[in-house]
Symmetry: C2
Subunit: 244 residues, 2 copies
DNA sequence: CGCGCCATTGACTCTGGTCAACGCTAGTGG
DNA sequence: CCACTAGCGTTGACCAGAGTCAATGGCGCG
């Protein structure tokens, strides 16, 4: 962990000293790192700056030069775009294993904020890009991730363009459960660390409509609203509403 | 062009015999092919199946195995997703230079139809993927394209989630003009080969709302509606409405 | 000439937005 | 320990932007 501490000292970031090494990383197999051999993992680890962010901290902002890219290891990140008048559209919630900045472009196209406490592996973009150029299969992996992101984005376009409020909320809950299940957090009780406003800005609705719709789903015994989350009582019913 | 003819015979596709070679390709510099050296271009050309599609022809359908990938060289392609009940969301219009199937996934996530007559370079996905594995800079180029696609998708999410009908239409017109300008078709008169229904399904509106909104913009002298297109009389006004 | 398709326009409806009140909980300070 | 406050979520009443339904117009094609 020598290098990690060096990085922390150099960058002045709030690093996670004593963090487990990549070899023990809980999300490695769900992240781009799954494409790496033992020695490559070490090489990448040498480039990584493990970093923690408190709730509501900004990881980066739209249009700002993209000096870093990030591998989320813990927590949830909201990705959003703002219109000049302040309207906000959340384009996604990043979960452990997700990669931020995978377009590798000069500037960030979105802003990113920690929802709750968040841990990431941060990389200098230039160094990361240089490393990638020596490891085509890592670029291939990154490209797979981009393809997956694009697919999620297209699903979200359908949701925003063509679905009713109830369909949006049901689809959101079912979709989040699926994503959590894929990274090993299977559960009928879904934690919703983000605010109602976040959900509304993700679904293209208002906070009131989200609230009313969840209340209606709860009244119909499809979900049970619990503190900071919901229990999916009839997931199959939600899937039917979501119509996927 | 021997190979092309062989391919045509083998596949039974409606190929463009006598098509210009890649070296003369008008959209090469706007396509992934711009990343290629002379010899690489020849190698890729050997893998390509130049193909033409008539208006409303299907290039591929959602969930179908992705045997081919495509480089659009001429015309416009609509990319869409359908909900089980028939609601449609168009997730994009592909223009010359655009690449279809860049996720390189096993199955297509969207359906693709020719709007008018369309020419493409088609590739067997497996052969294309194999070639790419030998040319990391081509994968890099493909990844850049994916990043750009993702960025467009995120802009569209903002449009669908947070913009009014008038903003959507103005944004659509301005955005299409920009894309055409980037591939060398600068003009204040914008061809709209797609139907009103297509525009509506792209913007998350109904055909009536698109029609009314365009009529209002025309009444305000911001645009002039001409057969199969519009003339942008006050592009700066449209940009102001689009609020970008 | 007549048919069919697409676009436009009008009248009316309705889903979801707006505005406002209220309640619950956590944090603060007396 | 409890009053007070701030922030978030819920609920209600009302409103408006976009959808629905229907009629009409224009154009291309047989």
């Amino acid at each position: 962990m020598q290098l990690v501490e060096d990085h922390c000292a150099k960058t002045g970031q709030d690093c996670a000293h004593g963090r487990t090494a990549c070899a023990d990383c809980k999300v490695r197999l769900h992240s781009i790192c799954a494409a790496l051999e033992q020695d490559e993992l070490h090489a990448l680890e040498a480039l990584s700056h493990p970093t923690r962010y408190g709730a509501r901290a900004t990881l980066f902002s739209q249009d700002e030069p993209a000096d870093s890219v990030f591998n989320v290891t813990e927590g949830m990140v909201r990705l959003y775009k703002l219109l000049p008048d302040g309207r906000r559209q959340i384009v996604g919630f990043a979960l452990p294993g997700d990669f931020l900045g995978l377009a590798l472009m000069d500037r960030f196209g979105v802003s990113a904020e920690a929802v709750g406490d968040v841990s990431v592996c941060r990389f200098q973009r230039k160094g990361f890009a240089a490393y990638i150029d020596t490891k085509p299969h890592l670029l291939r992996r990154l490209h797979e991730f981009a393809g997956h992101e694009l697919s999620l984005a297209q699903d979200q376009m359908v949701l925003l363009g063509r679905r009713s409020a109830e369909e949006r909320v049901a689809s959101f809950l079912v979709g989040l459960r699926e994503r959590l299940a894929r990274i090993g957090q299977k559960s009928v009780t879904l934690a919703l660390p983000m605010s109602r406003q976040d959900i509304a800005d993700f679904l293209g609705l208002t906070i009131e409509t989200v609230s009313r719709t969840m209340t209606r789903l709860a009244r119909d015994k499809a979900i049970l609203i619990v503190p900071d989350g919901v229990r999916l009582l009839r997931p199959e019913h939600l899937e039917a509403i979501a119509a996927r």
